[in-house]
Amino acid sequence: MFMNSNLFEPGKSKQEKQFIQLAVKQNQRFDGRRSNECRDVELTFGSDWGTVAVSLNDTKVLAQVTCDMGAPTTSRPYEGKLQLNVSIGGVAFLDEMQSTYDQRFLTLNSQLERTFRSSRCLDLESLCVAAEKHVWCIRVDINVLNHDGNLYDASTIATLAALMHFRRPDVTYANDELRIYTEKERELIPLLFLHYPVSVTYCIYKSNPQPLVDPTLLEENAADSVIVLSFNSYQELCTLNAGGTVPTNVRTIMQCARYAATRCKAIVEFIRKTLALDEERRLQGTGPSQGLLALLGENKHKLSFKQLMEGYQKQDSPTLQDSQMEVDAAQTSEKPNVAEVPVKEEQPIKQETGKLVQDAKPMDTSTWLPQEATNDQELPTPSRVVSLKVGKGKNRAKNKANKKQQQLAKKQNHSDSEEEVTQVI
């Protein structure tokens, strides 16, 4: 029987689990991070379009986007296709132990599907060349290189960055004769996005209600429950996936959501900056850029979150303090006077524990959470996986559609739509 997981996984022995519970109780983490501090994200773009390698210091993922012409599905003749394929059996040797393979592979795959496909982040209509006949089929291959905890964030960041970095060839379709232009003839075209989803992962332990963000493999294996939230840069919640043995009260989830919203915004901002840098380097670079050579050794222009987002970090920190203060405030349960997070009132989260079709923006808890909610009234989210899927619910489509029309009308350029939204708020 495949008892011997040939790959040593930290956090499997009792000593390690007890030790982590103890460490979390005293707010100690191995790499010295605070409980709401994430690891540094490093992006390296390949020399051809749509290749990106992401590393959260030891967790390394490579994403590659390719496109080819194909026939649309009969149910959606006017839309292109997006296919995500995660491979964890490669250099990461994660397919050794049969039991962990399925569980890890399936959750990762479903998480990515929900974050990118069912949340309609890509504008698939723009990929349609000829209805019912020719549409672009975009395929994203995510190869996990090394798993040191938090594969969800690494792969979502990698997928988003690869999709944003990808350029597809131009194509004309005249009297059913298809012509695809090569790179030399026509400038390549980037993909069109409706919104930019990124995920943040938390681990919760029995010994301390305060969740840990961006867990390492040791913390992930020793954790009792995992919460994965994914927000887009307009701070709309795309997916929420919470499950595990410890009941998490709504207040903790809301607090995680608040921090995650700001974090996702910062990440998308960071990806845009790195894209711009990569663009520059490509223009003035002599011939094809360095590509993934930059992975090797210390090179000067490393695209890392900490370096690039210096400014953002400071501006970001006040909200961190608030969330920290928020936790203490929650203990004394008086109204947290946290700065209003730019949030749009959309839909109060339905309380029933069934399949929550929830497209609420991260609420400011002060408005809808009944004030007299005493601290101990914990709404234990059911231990089974609560998958809040941003379904294409009626009201969501109606509301989303009119906001998008507004933007699409204007010249589709990401930065404008960003300002546009903030002015609206």
């Binding site: 008892m3 011997n4 390690e16 030790f19």
Partner: protein
Amino acid sequence: MSSSGTIVMPGERISAIEEVAKSKRVILGPGLRRLDDTVVASKAGPLRHKEPNTFWVDNYQRRYVPARGDLVLGIVKAKAGDQYRVDIGSADLASISYLSFEAATKKNRPDLNPGDLIYARVLVASADVEPELVCVNSNGKRGKLGQLADGFFFKCSLNLGRVLLRENCPALAALTRRLPYEIAVGVNGRIWLKAHSLRETIALTNAILALEQAGYAEIDKVCDNLEDFLQA
């Protein structure tokens, strides 16, 4: 003690050893292989020589190959009949009978359950049979072996384990100067640590792991700036 050798690559004949072998008996350690009367390296790394006649290749490795007489740290995986299956990081799971513990009789068996840590000696180890461990020395006493309670446990490369286990190793000495602690180093690249407080254990773990990143060339430098690990 061990002269630092030149780098040998697999397949290379090492004539130095063959000369020594003409005069007296030679002990070929791991990494060296005998082809009739030539000595050929099978691993890449510096060739080490211990005074009288012992030669071995000190190559970098993370996968443990069991050998008789090694002291290893194992995680109990399962209880199969009158044997425990222990993972010592080798190709197969090692087995240890419930009798090979101190004062273990048919009736009062040692209470080991999956996830526990034991420090044991490899009794039987060969390529074709699964390794066998024992937690008792020849006269039935526990000695230093047996189950390890709380503290923290982590994996590192085999080389780091060997560096820590050399005679009066500077790293351990430096760590002792700073704080009292208990340590169990397995030759299979696994280390168990216990210090008074949790912060100290974390600092110790980071210090030892830093040794590996630093490539243990600057072993003293790492030990000197233990303070910043302690503060972290």
